[in-house]
């Protein structure tokens, strides 16, 4: 299979797979006997699973159709190949085991099983351990264990299926990447002369940020209920067991989220004149070595022969600028729900849960991108602006980003650009940044106007409450704006639709004050500042409109 071709058979097969169940669903036809019977509150149910099958087939059909846009090569891999691949000279071998998913999944399964074992299973009003939601409702094991159990099982299964050996070698101007799984091999060949940019990093989070939203809501609820049960001065009997299990489940879920977000996810992106190749892998951590330490060496081994000049020449060391704004915003957003709930001040659930998610996202971004420990540095090699060069951005002990610019020939000038030196510019905003900016502005608008509209005139608490909500909301808006429109020195790599921003400042150039940097960026790029302000203003007005809709609706 040639990686440059589209394959119409995927479209045909996908449409066939999706349309048939869709027609059956539309016609209201079930598959006889495809289900089971059960009893719920003494009512017998015959539950047919046709709907699940139809939906699964529709999704499968869409996934098959999506292969039309993807170039894949799949063939069975022998056991011998699996064991020996990548061990020849000139080959680079990485055993990829999603260990963080395995560990997180295992922990979640364990806490799920423990919940059901200790707290019981089922719907009954005779449950003498604890009942959830309503009298006669499910056992408290459901909130404590069901989602962890299912999620953990899926994670473990997915992680086992994703174990692979990645073999990279370069020969005769062709970079070949082979991914060997126990039953299949995907081989991708990339002409090295077409490569424009290669990037390896262990700092990308991508869709894994969704784990924060997925777990954040229930973790907070479990912690609040669990600590309330444990801290109740009149607690007795199974209250301790239920409270303890809630807290344990919440803690395990937090540990799992940390593992999923921070543990061993690495990516290699290669952009050619025509395609973008992205490989995700999970190198096993080695004791005594930073988890990220393998990234530059791998890339250098891969591309060192193709672009030797990128790794020669003078190495110019730059600073990785320390930046605490996202840390401040993240902690601030996480503090709001905790302090609000603990001391019954400021806002409620409408803000708590989104702020937990936003705060988590911002904090993860800070740790992976902005955090700079003593060893943080940016190293630039090769001849700047005159040919292949590489940039290593090491942000401390754990995270680093490595880019190799192989030259921008073949792409229109406006689609290919690398800064020859650090440039002061606002932060490059990615979708999660926009989500946080919009979300905070919307919720602050909603909260302030909800309070103003509801606050009873003449009530002694009203002036203080309005002042508090306006003050905290204003501070959050300001910090969010400053974090979004965050002028700092960086080197931007821009290729086609993709831009990679590496924070970097001249070593020994002397720190410039934030206010002067802000003023400089405002002067140079007033449009970007205006866009951030407009984005936040629109979201704030939408929140305000929501408050009015609630009040007058």
């Amino acid at each position: 299979m040639n990686g440059h071709d589209h394959h119409v058979e995927y479209l045909v097969a996908g449409i066939g797979t999706a349309v048939i169940p869709a027609l059956l669903l539309a016609a209201g036809i079930t598959i006889p006997g495809f289900g089971f019977t059960f009893e719920l509150h003494k009512v017998d149910f015959s539950y047919n699973l046709s709907m699940f099958l139809y939906v699964a087939l529709i999704f499968a059909g869409v996934a098959i159709m999506a292969c039309y846009f993807r170039s894949v090569r799949i063939q069975p891999a022998s056991r011998e190949l699996w064991q020996s691949a990548g061990r020849l000279p000139g080959q680079h071998r990485v055993v990829s085991v999603p260990w963080s998913r395995l560990v997180a999944g295992g922990l979640l399964v364990a806490v799920g099983v423990l919940s059901f074992a200790l707290l019981g299973i089922g719907f009954t009003d005779r449950n003498k351990i604890g009942i959830w939601l309503y009298l006669g409702g499910p056992s408290v094991s459901f909130p404590a264990g069901l989602i962890p159990l299912i999620t953990g099982a899926v994670l473990v299964a997915y992680a086992l299926a994703a174990v692979k050996v990645v073999v990279v070698h370069e020969k005769c101007g062709l970079l070949t990447i082979r991914e060997l799984r126990p039953l299949s091999e995907i081989r991708t060949s990339i002409p090295t002369r077409d490569i424009r940019l290669a990037r390896a990093t262990n700092a990308d989070t991508g869709p894994r940020l969704l784990w924060i939203a997925f777990f954040g809501f229930q973790v907070f609820l479990l912690l609040v209920d669990g600590l309330s049960l444990l801290g109740n001065p009149h607690a007795f009997g199974t209250g301790y067991l239920v409270g303890g299990m809630y807290v344990l489940s919440a803690c395990v879920q937090i540990v799992s989220v940390v593992l999923l977000l921070f543990g061993g996810n690495q990516s290699l992106t290669i952009i050619t004149t025509e395609k973008v190749y992205t490989l995700y892998y999970h190198a096993l951590p080695r004791l005594g070595r930073a988890p990220s330490a393998g990234v530059p060496s791998m890339l250098e081994k891969m591309l060192g022969t193709a672009f030797p000049s990128a790794f020669r020449g003078d190495k110019r060391e730059l600073q990785h600028p320390a930046d605490l704004k996202r840390l401040i915003l993240g902690i601030g957003l996480l503090t709001v729900p905790v302090v609000s709930r603990a001391f019954y001040v400021y806002a409620g659930e409408l803000l708590w849960f989104p702020f937990l998610v936003f705060g988590g996202i911002v904090l993860v971004q800070w740790i992976k991108s902005d955090y700079a420990s003593g060893g943080a540095r940016v190293v630039r090699g090769g001849i700047a602006g005159a040919g292949p060069e590489h940039v290593l951005s090491a942000r401390g002990r754990f995270y680093e980003e490595y880019l190799v610019n192989a030259g921008m020939g073949g792409l229109p000038r406006q689609q290919a650009r690398v800064d020859p030196a650090p440039v002061l510019r606002p932060r490059l905003l990615l979708p999660p940044d926009h989500l946080v900016t919009l979300g905070v502005a919307l919720l602050v608008g909603l909260d302030i106007f909800m309070t103003v509209l509801l606050a009873p005139a003449g009530n002694p608490f009203s002036p203080g409450a309005i002042a508090l909500h306006v003050a905290i909301g204003t501070v959050l808006l300001l910090v969010t704006f400053v974090t979004s429109f965050d002028p700092k020195d960086s080197i931007d790599f821009k290729v086609a639709h993709w831009t990679f921003q590496v924070p970097a400042a001249h070593a020994g150039g002397g720190p410039r004050g934030w206010s002067s940097r802000m003023a400089g960026a405002m002067r140079k790029r007033p449009g970007i500042a205006a866009l951030v302000v407009i984005e936040m203003a629109v979201a704030f007005c939408l929140g305000m409109a929501g408050a009015f809709a609630l009040f007058f609706g």
């Binding site: 719920l40 009003d125 351990i129 309330s228 007795f236 009997g237 395609k275 409620g348």
Partner: protein, 523 residues
């Protein structure tokens, strides 16, 4: 390895958006269909065209209603509060003088709260009419009920006040009450009793007493309502002092458990009085509002925080259309807490919000049900005086007068058969949808409490319009029962219910000046 063509970048973004939107659209379609069905299936119960014309309501004799109230009052105090909380009673003969056994229901808290609300109405009527004898009568029963209700907190927790927990009993009894006929708390062998799983010993000085546990939200609803209306309108020092302790205990305990109800085993019972899914915030608001009135220093700021800063005032909604065909009783205890909050809140901004929630929610579901309990609450919370909403005034009067036909005394007697214009609702299309259509079958568990019967099974099925009260079987509180369902044929003239179905709406109407003590309704 993921491979994207740079040229196809836009197409791939569109494809990605489609892949993301597909499950969203599917879930939206499923939830949209479910939401539609939640309204559509019970829509027959909100059909205004089926409401009777006002001309069909009888012009009642207020004097006769007053004499009926006096009769029910005498029966209630004499035979239905042996331990100062509400029970039914079985008699040895139809002269209803000798009780053979009491029917200790598991809704002692709910129906005692409902009863005390009625007697607060009587207390208010006595004040309004300057009738000192009637005031003393009302206060006597109120004191008894306050005692009975206070013991529902004291027995499980060992005492009254914020120093004790907030477990609420359904009913209670001291060891010396074990011999009361029908008392189930000390006897596991009584048929229908919830022993042994639901009965516990009390705590502290009450450790030899017994109480019924697994207290449901129904119970809390009636209980909170009773506390709220009594605390607001009855100024007797003992009553207010006791209620203050109870309110403080409940507020303190519920805040400590994050508004989770706790059972006699120590764990949560499933009762959760927090706002959930932007709904049902009324419970915590009512509790804290009571606290704010009884102990402003402790709870006024907390109430403000919940109502205003958290925005709970927007989400103080109870009930849904689905309760017309599933768990109709939930309307009854849901409206109790809504009523309690509307009674206590005097700030115009917050009260207007609560009233808007009530009118857009609960009241819109039940306004066609000919339910005297709901209709009286509508008249009171709207602040309507006589003639403010004549239709509902006369509807309530007509229903109260009909008690004379089949519920006087309040025994399990044969009922008036429905007139020919009552038609059974045909659910066949929905039955087929949930049983045979893949989407319907997929959603069926979410509708498992819907009673989609066509009248082909005995006592199962819905009429297309609400039955008048004389057509309904009696129960501890008729207004908590579904007026659309086939009433059934069983009778037992020896079982007398407490008469609250008449007492509470009648005295609330009279207490709030919506009904006269004497005279005849003019057309």
């Amino acid at each position: 390895m993921r491979i994207k063509n740079i040229k196809d970048h836009r197409k791939q973004q569109v494809g990605l958006a489609a892949v993301i939107l597909l499950p969203v659209a599917l879930l939206g379609a499923i939830f949209g269909t479910a939401s539609y069905l939640y309204v559509e299936i019970p829509s027959f119960g909100m059909d205004e065209s089926k409401m009777p014309d006002i001309s069909s309501f009888q012009l009642v004799d207020y004097g006769e209603l007053a004499s009926m109230a006096a009769f029910y009052d005498q029966r209630f105090e004499g035979h239905h509060i042996p331990l100062n909380y509400t029970v039914s009673a079985s008699f040895t003969s139809t002269n209803y003088t000798n009780v053979s056994t009491y029917g200790f229901s598991d809704n002692g808290a709910l129906w005692s709260g409902t009863a005390i609300a009625g007697y607060v109405g009587k207390y208010l009527a006595a004040r309004r009419e300057s009738n000192a004898t009637m005031e003393l009568d009302a206060l006597r029963v109120i004191r008894k009920l306050v005692h009975g209700m206070s013991m529902m907190l004291a027995v499980p927790n060992g005492g009254l006040g914020p120093g004790y927990g907030a477990i609420l009993a359904r009913m209670w009894a001291a060891p010396e009450h074990a011999s009361i006929p029908g008392m189930p708390l000390f006897n596991d062998s009584i048929q229908g009793a919830r022993a042994p799983y639901a009965y516990y010993n009390g705590s502290g000085v009450y450790s030899n007493w017994r109480y019924s546990d697994f207290t449901s939200l129904d119970e809390y609803g009636g209980y909170y309502w009773g506390l709220a209306i009594t605390y607001k309108y009855v100024d007797d020092p003992w009553v207010r002092g006791t209620l203050s302790l109870m309110i403080d205990q409940l507020c303190s305990g519920m805040l400590q458990t994050n508004f989770l109800g706790i059972g006699g085993f120590g764990g949560p019972t499933g009762v959760d009085q927090k706002m959930r899914f932007l709904n049902a915030a009324t419970w915590s608001l009512l509790l804290l509002k009571m606290g704010a009135l009884a102990y402003p220093d402790k709870y006024a700021r907390l109430y403000y925080h919940f109502a205003v800063e958290r925005g709970y005032a927007f989400f103080a909604n109870e009930g849904g259309t689905q309760e017309i065909v599933a768990n109709y009783y939930a309307y009854n205890f849901g409206i109790d807490v809504v009523f309690g909050l509307l009674l206590l809140e005097e700030d115009p901004t917050l009260r207007a919000q609560y009233l808007a929630n009530f009118n857009n929610g609960m009241w819109s579901f039940v306004r066609t049900h000919r339910n005297a309990h709901f209709n009286v609450i509508h008249l009171i919370v709207e602040g309507l005086g006589p003639g403010g909403d004549v239709y509902y005034e006369r509807d309530v009067e007509d229903q109260l007068a009909r008690f004379k036909l089949t519920h006087y005394p309040d025994v399990n007697a044969p009922v008036t058969p429905p007139t020919p214009d009552y038609r059974l609702v045909d659910f066949t299309v929905w039955q087929n949808f949930f049983e045979r259509h893949p989407l319907g079958n997929f959603m069926a568990p979410f509708f498992f409490e819907f009673e989609l019967d066509n009248g082909d099974k005995e006592d199962k099925g819905f009429y297309d319009r609400p039955l008048a009260v004389d057509m309904c079987k009696t129960r501890l509180y008729i207004w908590g029962g579904n007026p659309f369902t086939i009433p059934g044929n069983s009778t037992n003239l020896l079982v007398e219910l407490p008469g609250l179905s008449f007492i509470t709406p009648y005295w609330l109407m009279r207490g709030f000046g919506l009904i006269n003590a004497t005279g005849v309704r003019s057309p």
